[in-house]
């Protein structure tokens, strides 16, 4: 999904100095007792967390923000999910599946004996209802397009713009074979179809409850989500400041969850969250919950606090930060000008200032952990570690500008950056780097919604901009199609790039069934994109957080899973 670069809040920026103060530089609050390493799960206890923003929607079909995604994950299950610490697809409510040779007809065997938290039995009817509902126009699912591959999806969307279908009417591509077997037909083969079924929006709803969601939402009422997941959300008003999740006693995964309860308090910004964590008021600083990282000043202060440092973790995340261009507008329509930016940018310094050097420097689009990642792909090697290296890189940039017809430099127009902490530093660094080779840009900081508005305008108002992309599922299609396919122009492709060769390769790879061949095709696309310098990646994502001394497991992937939200069903609190 597109996002501003690691969205810390504005107040976290303003409170950077306060963070240093609150970190107490070696002076901590009453430190939690450090417990011995605990490898045996302990049952019971309440995990206390805090988020700044409340969940946007509790209706899984409408989930698009990370907090709602996390809540969703506690309450619901999908047909398939990811393994505990990796991006491998494993069974969940579906125990097994198969597909025909063409890859267009999928048959799922469903888990028997599972009940929703209200006691209703889980059957194929619920799956059919859920997948149909996502495709209904009135549902307003942000990810409806992901399920457009299911046969009958477009017809459903067209017929349900003002009213849903009856609860027992399903997409033509969905067939209930028996209460525990369902068949789904897609219009084209899609190798990542299982990943799509693992998205939060495909969380399986209780049909008898969810059929009332449309009427409730139209009346402006909060829905009560009912799922088969490890926790049950207690009824809460939309204005609540505390969401309470109680253990689901009938959860089908025996022995889980370990916790009795998860309390998520709403409202504390990162500065306050950090202070609350040091005081022991919350059990983990859930940067992973809201998909942000410790701000640079907070990180430095944390390093000086022995207790906090012991509780800190930091893992790569599957996302990339990059500079983008409208490739149809001068001077950015000239590939040599874009390539000059590659040489001009001091990516190492950008990483140091914006991320304390925690983010891996990026020279390609697909990040580590994404199938198709090429660690050796670096078409524009520039060594800014030495003065000689810097001079050489800048000389290359100037030579490219000269070859592009700009021997005396060029005005690149406005450089759009999405507002948030780090925005002014990024603006300053990029402006300075580019000015050093003769490219003048005027930074302008705007809100994310304004950015989207500018990007969707025709012609685009974004000539040169900074953005990030985080994976929705571990398939190169998620990155390369969304960011570079001509069909996505103005949608997520804010470059408005539209190269027939690239489009053809993407179409072939997207519907291919041979994974090895698909990866080769995506590799070709990535190389072409980098050769044409449609974007200039500069840093890959990382995810960090703080986990209390008596909270286990310490495995970072439980808290910052490569794909899923934090897996709190595996968490326990040592006594």
């Amino acid at each position: 999904m597109a996002r501003p670069m690691r969205p810390w809040t504005a107040l976290a920026s303003a409170a950077a100095a306060a963070s240093v103060l609150l970190a107490g530089v070696g002076v901590g609050a009453a430190a939690a007792t450090v417990h011995k390493q605990s490898s045996t799960p302990v049952y019971g206890g309440t995990l206390n967390l805090d988020t700044q923003t409340p969940p946007q929607k509790l209706d899984p079909a409408q989930v698009s923000d990370v907090v709602s995604g996390q809540f969703n994950y506690l309450i619901f299950n999908n047909l398939v999910t990811y393994a505990k610490t990796t991006a491998q697809i494993v069974p969940s409510l579906a125990t097994s599946w198969s597909h025909n040779a063409a890859g267009t007809v999928w048959t799922f065997n469903l888990r028997k004996g599972v009940t929703f938290s209200n006691g209703d039995p889980f059957t194929a009817t619920d799956v059919a209802f859920t997948l149909t509902r996502i495709n209904e126009g009135v549902t307003n699912s942000p990810y409806e397009f992901s399920y457009a591959v299911i046969a009958g999806s477009q017809q459903c969307l067209a017929q349900t713009k003002t009213k849903p279908w009856p609860a027992t009417e399903y997409l033509s591509g969905i067939k209930i074979l028996n209460p525990y077997k369902i068949q789904i037909t897609t219009t084209t083969p899609e190798q990542f179809f299982l990943n799509v079924l693992a998205l939060p929006s495909a969380s399986i709803e209780d049909a008898s409850v969810a059929q009332n969601y449309f009427a409730q939402e139209k009346a402006g009422k909060q829905i009560d989500p009912v799922g088969t997941g490890p926790f049950i959300l207690q009824p809460a008003a939309a204005s609540t400041t505390l969401y309470v999740f109680k253990k689901n006693p009938t959860y089908w995964q025996k022995g889980l969850p370990y916790l009795n309860q998860v309390d998520v308090h709403i409202g504390a910004d990162p500065t306050l969250q950090y202070a609350q964590f040091l005081k022991g008021q919350i059990d983990a600083m859930p940067t992973f919950l809201e998909n942000f990282d410790l701000a640079p000043a907070q990180y430095l202060a944390m390093l000086k606090n022995p207790k906090a440092k012991a509780d800190y973790f930091d893992v790569p995340d599957i996302g990339v930060n990059y500079l983008g261009f409208d490739v149809n507008t001068a001077p950015w329509n000239n590939v040599k000008v874009r390539q000059a930016v590659e040489y001009a940018l001091n990516k190492k310094l950008l990483d140091e200032v914006l991320f304390n050097g925690r983010a891996p420097v990026a020279n390609s689009i697909l990040p580590p952990g994404m199938p198709g990642y090429q660690p050796n792909l670096n078409l524009y090697p520039a060594n800014y570690a030495t003065a000689a290296g810097q001079a050489a890189a800048q000389a290359k940039a100037k030579a490219l500008l000269k070859a592009a017809g700009y021997p005396n430099g060029v005005n690149g127009g406005t450089f759009f950056i999405i507002s948030g902490p780090g925005d002014t530093q990024q603006a300053s660094l990029v402006k300075t780097d580019l000015a050093a080779v003769g490219i003048q840009v005027q930074p302008r900081i705007i809100g994310f919604n304004t950015f989207l508005n500018y990007g969707e305008a025709k012609p685009s108002k974004l000539g040169f901009y900074s953005l990030g992309w985080t994976q929705d599922y571990p398939d190169p299609q998620d990155f390369l199609f969304n960011l570079f396919d001509g069909l996505e122009a103005g949608q997520n492709n804010f470059d408005y790039s539209n190269n027939p060769q690239v489009n053809a390769l993407l179409a072939k790879a997207d519907s291919g069934t041979n994974q090895a061949l698909r990866l080769q095709e995506y590799d070709q696309v990535q190389k072409m994109v980098m050769q044409m310098a449609w974007v200039v990646p500069f840093a890959f994502d990382f995810q960090d957080g703080l986990v209390g001394a008596n909270v286990y497991p310490k495995t970072p992937a439980i808290w910052a899973h490569p794909v899923e939200p934090a897996e709190l069903q595996y968490v326990w609190i040592a006594k």
Binding site: P54, S141, T241, G267, N449
Partner: protein, 313 residues
């Protein structure tokens, strides 16, 4: 007298309605003109253009400005602030719980301002001209100048971490008094300076009035003269200031609520602006405008009741 009062109230109410209407129109137009699409903001960057177009139509965002405003105006005229774009729940369900929490903090903050400001003002007036008086006035200037956010974070550090006698942020319940202390003190200290100076100025204006000279001439002690005659009259201007403060507070204590994670209107305002939740922005703005306007009317009426020299004509 009663006729004059009635006429005055009717005039003020008519003006209040016009003022609130003006605020609603201006805010609505600004929301309409923002370079961002609420439907896109709701669905996120990933949603298809088709989905955005469907939601645009559902929300009436494809209608002309005047049509959109007329639909909205018909709703708020009967107290229906609509449905939040972002949360999908009715504005009433969002607004009133947050407003109640802001109101609770507003009252606590006002009490803190008075508890700190009045004694300071009294002592300063009693010791007028002395070094103590001058020091107090400098102190009040510092109190007035200190950034609210900075003071709030200092409190969090001191009472939440170094001497953790108070909870760190959030709202523990309307009767959970420990949660009020830090945010109320933060506002109270910065606002008390105004009351201290106001009281001092009022006292100094009254101290040479005839009724005070009469009281002294009757042989009353200085303390009795001060507390029984001067200060009750000196507090009359407080009514205006308290009304202004309350009205402003009810509009949302944005910075303090953010620092302490107090889930009031200020917190909701920041969230709704960031999420381009225009119905919520409109609801809060309308509520704040009504609160300020109504409180101003109440203040004027109370002021006239307290001071018989004030005439409604």
């Amino acid at each position: 007298m009663r006729d004059r009062l009635t006429a005055y109230v009717v005039r003020r109410l008519a003006l209040a309605v016009l003022t609130v209407f003006g605020v609603v129109v201006v805010t609505f137009v600004i929301g309409y003109l923002l370079p961002a699409n609420p439907a896109r903001a709701i669905l996120g960057a990933h949603a298809s253009a088709q989905s955005v177009a469907i939601l645009d139509k559902q929300l009436g965002l494809n209608l002309p400005l005047w049509d959109q405003f007329w639909i909205y105006f018909k709703k708020i005229a009967v107290g229906n602030f609509g449905v939040s774009y972002y949360y999908g729940v009715s504005e009433n369900a969002l607004l009133w719980p947050h407003a109640a929490k802001t109101a609770a903090l507003a009252v606590a903050s006002l009490i803190a301002e008075l508890v700190i400001g009045i004694p300071l003002g009294i002592v300063s007036a009693m010791k007028r001209g002395s070094v103590f008086d001058r020091l107090l006035m400098v102190l009040s200037l510092i109190m007035f100048s200190v950034p609210v956010f900075w003071l709030g974070v200092l409190f969090l550090y001191e009472f939440g971490q170094i001497h953790p006698i108070l909870p760190l942020g959030t709202f523990g319940g309307f009767l959970a008094l420990p949660y009020y202390v830090m945010p109320a003190l933060t506002i109270g200290i910065t606002g008390a300076a105004v009351y201290a100076r106001l009281l001092r100025t009022s006292v100094l204006e009254l101290v040479n009035q005839d009724f005070v000279r009469t009281a002294r001439a009757k042989g009353l002690s200085e303390g009795v003269v001060l507390f029984r005659h001067i200060i009750p009259n000196a507090l009359i201007p407080f009514v205006t200031q308290m009304g202004l403060d309350l009205g402003t507070f009810l509009g949302g204590l944005i910075i303090v609520e953010q620092v302490f994670a107090w889930p009031g209107l200020g917190y909701l305002t920041v969230q709704s602006i960031a999420n381009l939740d225009i119905p919520t922005i409109l609801a809060i703005t309308t509520f704040a405008a009504i609160a300020i306007v109504v409180l101003n009317i109440v203040v004027d009426l109370v002021y006239a009741l307290l001071d018989p020299r004030i005439s409604y004509s």
